[in-house]
């Protein structure tokens, strides 16, 4: 590893000497384009608005369902007792056949 280290260090030392003479100012129009893009995109997207309203709608639907069940609880509870008094046509057919 020591041998490798000295070789690698020799190579990177040489690499660090390479001149960096490239332009470092933003190309013409770059800053304007980026700034315009950033300022336009920053508002809430259609998808985000839809998502927020969807969650609200879900909560409202749940509350309405619960309110509906609560309001009609008496009807639901009473209907199970009445079912026992109903005539079962299938069993009647079997009874008459035998």
């Amino acid at each position: 590893m020591k041998d490798f280290d000295s070789r690698w260090q020799k190579l990177v030392t040489a690499a660090r000497q390479a001149p960096v003479a490239r332009e470092e100012t933003a190309p013409y129009g770059f800053a304007t384009r980026v700034a315009a893009g950033a300022m336009c995109d920053a508002g809430p997207t259609v998808l985000a608005v839809f998502g927020r309203f969807s969650v609200r709608a879900l909560w409202i639907a749940c509350l309405l369902t619960l309110a509906g069940v609560a309001a009609n609880y008496v009807v639901f509870a009473g209907s199970t007792g009445d079912d026992q008094n109903l005539i079962d046509p299938v069993s009647e057919v079997f009874t008459n056949a035998s």
């Binding site: 590893m1 490798f4 280290d5 070789r7 690698w8 260090q9 020799k10 190579l11 990177v12 030392t13 040489a14 690499a15 660090r16 000497q17 390479a18 001149p19 960096v20 490239r22 470092e24 100012t25 933003a26 190309p27 770059f30 800053a31 304007t32 384009r33 980026v34 700034a35 315009a36 893009g37 950033a38 300022m39 995109d41 920053a42």
Partner: protein
């Protein structure tokens, strides 16, 4: 970044109020910092301007999260480094490193590094840098970034930790793994050179 008169905090306040000209000034002010990072870690086949644009757009999107705990330039550098590393992770590594992939100058430099004890000639610096980048291209994106920051940019482990968000143990493990891979690469190249 050289503009001493630039009032960063006033500019940030204006950007937060959706001032487009302030946003443009901020981009122009930060461009040298961002483009240096982009050029140092640019993946193959990715245009540096596109990558710089992605970094600036991310910066504007996350601007509300900046609370001033660190220098703004550090905060932007971190966004730039993580964006570059995401791009590097997305690209596939070259399957094999071959002598045939090197230019004549790069092959000379590699030959000199492998066979002689002397330093590389000063006029071979550019070829050396290209060669280093080709060798680093064989590493995983995270390992490559660590070696590049440690050896080429001579950053400390603490600085790398600040830039990447990785803890120092992870950085050391990645550096060790990367050096192991580079060592194997050197050995393979040396064997091929002897043949």
């Amino acid at each position: 970044m050289a503009d001493e008169t630039f009032d960063l905090f006033a500019c940030l306040a204006r950007v937060r109020q959706r001032d487009q000209s302030a946003a443009r000034e901020l981009v122009e002010h930060l461009y040298p910092l961002v483009i240096r990072i982009v050029r140092a870690h640019l993946p193959r086949r990715v245009a540096e301007e596109d990558l710089a644009q992605d970094i600036f757009l991310k910066m504007f999107t996350r601007l509300e999260q900046y609370k001033g705990a660190v220098a703004f330039s550090h905060w932007v550098s971190r966004i730039a480094v993580t964006t570059c590393i995401d791009q590097l992770r997305a690209q596939k590594r070259r399957p094999e490193f071959r002598w045939a992939d090197l230019s004549e100058k790069e092959a000379d430099v590699l030959d000199s590094v492998l066979t002689s004890d002397g330093a590389v000639a000063a006029n071979d610096a550019l070829a050396s840098r290209e060669l280093v980048y080709k060798l680093l291209g064989q590493l995983k994106a995270d390992d490559r970034l660590v070696i590049q920051l440690l050896d080429l940019e001579q950053r400390s482990v603490a600085e790398i930790s600040e830039l990447t968000g990785w803890n120092s143990s992870l950085i050391k493990v990645r550096a060790f793994r990367a050096r192991g891979k580079l060592k194997k690469l050197f050995q393979d190249l040396e064997r091929k050179e002897r043949k």
